[in-house]
């Protein structure tokens, strides 16, 4: 029984390569939103936690793929969850954008029926005030479910590695290994985007900050539409 698979370095390199192309386009807006939302705080720990959450989700999905050995079976079951994750990402970006701009207070968002103690209001207010580094881990866990072509390809390989494994444990570990390597490979690109969005000198300029907020709302709407149509 061997838990080492030649696919690990292949998918580490794949993650790195697609990270700088595909992931920047797909997850870039989310990462920029998370960075801008931190304002003047250090981005290192929150983004480390966000990426850790993402890699953990990939690992779990890889383990499930490895155990079942069937990509299509698992993919069919998680399709609706992925749709929800995409819509959630859109809502999260919009709320962060609105809160960052400071243009709209939550009283205005919810009109006269605004109830600061209400469940939805509380939830939205918490989302808009995500600044605690610990909150970035569950966000990463959830956003790791976002539908993405290269992630699907890596999951396909994880299922293949599971099929070729001698036993269930080996299949799970190999599936997890492929996905964790892939996820780790994507981290440098997303960290770079986070760092670029964290330019203090940019954020101090109010106009750029507000343009950023408008873009975040636009990107959020785009994610929601994509999620609904997915």
């Amino acid at each position: 029984m061997s838990f080492i698979d030649p696919l690990y370095p292949v998918f580490l390199a794949t993650g790195f390569a697609v990270g700088f192309g595909h992931c920047i386009g797909m997850c870039g807006p989310i990462v920029v939103s998370l960075s801008l939302n931190l304002k003047d705080k250090n981005i290192l720990l929150p983004h480390l936690l966000y990426n850790s959450g993402r890699v953990v989700t990939y690992g779990v999905l890889g383990g499930v793929m490895g155990a079942t050995g069937s990509f299509t079976l698992v993919a069919a079951h998680i399709a609706e969850i992925q749709k929800g994750a995409m819509i959630f990402a859109g809502v999260l970006i919009i709320i962060m954008g609105l809160a960052m701009s400071g243009w709209i207070s939550f009283g205005q968002v919810f009109g006269n029926s605004y109830n600061p103690g209400g469940f939805i209001s509380k939830g939205f207010r918490r989302l808009s005030q995500i600044k605690s580094p610990a909150a970035y881990f569950p966000i990463g866990l959830l956003l790791g479910l976002l539908p993405c072509g290269p992630v699907y390809t890596a999951l396909l390989a994880a299922a293949g590695a599971g099929m070729e494994a001698a036993g269930t444990l080996e299949a799970i570990i190999k599936g997890m290994g492929v996905m964790i390597c892939f996820g780790l490979g994507t981290v440098p690109a997303l960290f770079l985007v986070a760092k670029l969005a964290d330019m203090g000198w940019l954020k101090k300029r109010e106009i750029i900050y507000r343009i950023g907020a408008v873009l975040m709302v636009a990107v959020g709407i785009y994610f929601i539409i994509k999620g609904i149509r997915y």
Binding site: A17, G21, H22, G25, P147, G149, Y152, T153, L156
Partner: protein, 161 residues
Amino acid sequence: MKPSILTGGKQLYFATKRVLKIISLFFILTGLLVFDGPLAPGPALAAESTVNCDAHKGVCSQSSGDLTVSLEITPRPVKAMQDLVFKVSIEGASPAKHPHIDLGMPAMKMGPNQVWLKPTGPGTYEGTGVIVRCPSGKRTWFANVIVPESGEVKFIFNVIY
């Protein structure tokens, strides 16, 4: 005098850092535009993404030199995210090793997705694979049939999401 020299040095340090950030941002944005954006070489990309196979209708044939390859994907219509059977027949070459198929999108990198083919008869091979769904909505995929030591033939087709 000493504090002002230190302040000047600090200012120079931050100014340099700022310039470096602007330069790196410029290079990254330029790189993205050139390699993956609107400044990407249009005609080449267009040529590579021109559909040359209607996989929903049946067998497609393409030639490259002496090599003629036929590809059939079932079940039809060809849909993403389901198990597909790829049947390949080769004329004009007797490959020493089994051929395989690289699946991908002309428009973006999707990672290695290969279909390993097994012989089913003289010059005929079969394998199973999956075309994954791209959330961008782009539906054009390619199947590059690679025949070891003989060459490769690319089939470009649309799939249903």
